[in-house]
C-alpha cells in the first residue's frame, strides 16, 4: 500500500454559544467534590486588554485518566476538581513533573490553544522537567499554579499581552 495521507479537517472557533453543548456543570468534576485526594484548580482567563474572557471553555486531561471541562463565567473564572496526577516519564524515559494538559477554546480563537498546568508545590520536579526547561525563565511561571492540595491551586490563563501564558504546539 503506497503511503497516503488523508486531508486534515480544519479547525474553526468554538463561537459564543458553546454553552449549548460544552457547559454541563457536572463536567468540571473529574472526581466527586470533596472526595479524598481531590484538589481544586481554578483561575481567570483574560484577553489582551486584561479583560475577562466570559465565553471560553477550559479542558484538563491527565495521565491517570482524569478529564474535566469548565466554561468561564462572567468574570472569566473557571474551576476543575481533580486529583493531582503522578509525574510520568516521556516516551524516551525522561522524568517529567506532574502536570495537567490544558485545552483552551473561545470565541475569537480559531483553534484550540494548548498549555500545561504544573504545580507550585513541586519545585524539585519542576526544576528537572524537560518541557519547562525549554521555556524562557521569565515566562516559566505562567505554567505553574501556585497553591497546595488543601488550599487549591490558582492557574490563570492570559491569552495575550502582559505576562502572556506560554502555549505549545503538539
Amino acid at each position: 500500500m503506497a503511503e497516503r495521507a488523508l486531508g486534515h479537517t480544519p479547525s474553526q472557533t468554538v463561537g459564543p454559544f458553546l454553552h449549548l453543548a460544552l457547559a454541563d456543570p457536572a463536567a468540571r468534576f473529574a472526581v466527586p467534590a470533596g472526595s479524598a485526594g481531590a484538589v481544586v484548580v481554578c483561575g481567570r482567563v483574560t484577553d489582551g486588554d486584561g479583560a475577562p474572557v466570559p465565553d471560553a471553555v477550559i479542558e484538563t486531561w491527565q495521565i491517570d485518566g482524569m478529564f474535566a471541562r469548565c466554561p468561564t463565567d462572567a468574570e472569566g473564572k473557571y474551576e476543575v476538581h481533580t486529583a493531582k496526577p503522578p509525574g510520568v516519564p516521556t516516551r524516551d524515559g525522561t522524568p517529567q513533573a506532574p502536570h495537567l494538559a490544558v485545552s483552551v477554546f473561545a470565541r475569537g480563537l480559531f483553534d484550540r490553544l494548548v498549555t500545561r498546568c504544573y504545580f507550585g508545590d513541586e519545585a524539585e520536579a519542576n526544576a528537572a522537567d524537560p518541557t519547562l526547561a525549554t521555556v524562557d525563565a521569565d515566562r516559566r511561571s505562567t505554567l505553574v499554579a501556585d497553591g497546595t492540595p488543601e488550599r487549591g491551586y490558582r492557574f490563570d490563563i492570559r491569552l495575550q499581552g502582559a505576562n502572556e501564558s506560554v502555549f505549545f504546539t503538539l
Binding site: 486534515h8 484577553d47 495521565i63 502536570h99 483553534d111 484550540r112 525549554t134
Partner: protein
C-alpha cells in the same frame, strides 16, 4: 444532582508502541500542512484581535513525547444515550424545519478508524436563532428545539445525527455580516493531541464569499473539507435529507508495512 465523573470518562487509552518496530510512529501525530487551520491572528475576524497570543507557541519535542498528550479520555457506552443523537424531538413536539441526517466517518490522517469517540454538536434552529441568552436577533425561537446533541462513533467509526437544517445567523463582524448555515462539531479522537473543534457547512450556501471564518483557511482544498456533501443514499424517503461529513484528525500517515486495521 451529584457530580458523577464516570458519566464522562471510563478509562484511559494510552497509545504505546515499541521503538524500532515497523509500526507507525505515534509520537509524531503529525501536524497538518500549513494552510489547513486558520491562523490565530486574522483581522478579518474581529474577535481574534484581543485573543490571539502574541508569542510564538513552543513546539513540544516529539522525541520526548508525553504519554498524556498521546492518550485521551474514553467515554463509556453507557454515558451517551441514543436519544441524544436526535435533536428534533422537543418537550412538546417536533422541531420546525427541514429534517436532515448528518453522518460520516471519523478517521485519522492515515485512514485509521476511531470507534467509540465522542462527537458533540450544537447549532441554531431553522430560523438561524440559537437557544442561548447571548443571541438576541429577531429570528424566531422554536420551543421544540434546543440545538445540542451527542453521539459516540460506532465500531465502523461512523457517527449519525438527526436534526433540522440550521438557518443563517447575523453577527456584528462586518457590515451586513451573516454566518453561513453551520453545525458546530467537537471531536475527541483517541488522544489529547487529536482534539478538534470545527464547523460543518452546507454545499449550496450563497454566503461563503463574505464569511471570514471559512476564508481564513488559506488552502482552498482544506476549506472545502468543511462543506458537507449532499448524499442521496443517506436521504431516507419521506423522512429526511442526508448529508455526509467525514472528519479527519491528526495521525501518522500509513507506511507500506502497516496492517490495514491495526490500532
Amino acid at each position: 444532582m451529584g457530580a458523577d465523573p464516570s458519566r464522562y470518562v471510563e478509562s484511559t487509552v494510552v497509545v504505546t508502541l515499541g521503538k524500532g518496530s515497523a509500526a507507525p510512529d505515534w509520537d509524531s501525530f503529525r501536524p497538518p500542512p500549513d494552510g489547513t487551520h486558520p491562523p490565530f491572528d486574522f483581522p478579518g475576524y474581529g474577535s481574534t484581535r484581543l485573543r490571539h497570543p502574541n508569542g510564538e507557541p513552543i513546539r513540544l519535542d516529539p522525541g520526548k513525547a508525553d504519554p498524556t498528550d498521546l492518550s485521551g479520555p474514553v467515554f463509556g457506552h453507557g454515558s451517551v444515550r441514543d436519544a441524544e443523537a436526535d435533536l428534533t424531538i422537543g418537550a412538546g413536539g417536533e422541531a420546525i424545519g427541514q429534517r436532515i441526517i448528518v453522518t460520516g466517518h471519523l478517521l485519522d490522517a492515515g485512514g485509521r478508524p476511531i470507534p467509540s469517540s465522542l462527537v458533540e454538536i450544537w447549532q441554531a434552529n431553522a430560523s438561524g436563532r440559537y437557544r442561548h441568552q447571548s443571541d438576541r436577533w429577531p429570528g424566531a425561537l422554536d420551543p421544540n428545539f434546543i440545538g445540542a446533541g451527542r453521539a459516540l462513533t460506532d465500531a465502523e467509526s461512523s457517527y449519525r445525527f438527526v436534526t433540522v437544517r440550521p438557518g443563517a445567523y447575523p453577527w456584528g463582524n462586518h457590515r451586513n455580516a451573516w454566518r453561513p448555515a453551520h453545525i458546530h462539531f467537537s471531536v475527541f479522537g483517541r488522544a489529547f493531541a487529536q482534539r478538534l473543534v470545527t464547523q460543518m457547512y452546507f454545499p449550496d450556501d450563497p454566503l461563503f464569499f463574505q464569511d471570514p471564518m471559512l476564508n481564513a483557511i488559506a488552502d482552498p482544498v482544506a476549506r472545502g473539507r468543511l462543506v458537507a456533501a449532499y448524499d442521496h443514499d443517506v436521504t431516507e424517503p419521506e423522512w429526511a435529507l442526508g448529508y455526509r461529513f467525514d472528519i479527519v484528525l491528526r495521525g501518522p500517515a500509513r507506511t507500506p508495512f502497516e496492517e490495514p486495521h491495526d490500532g
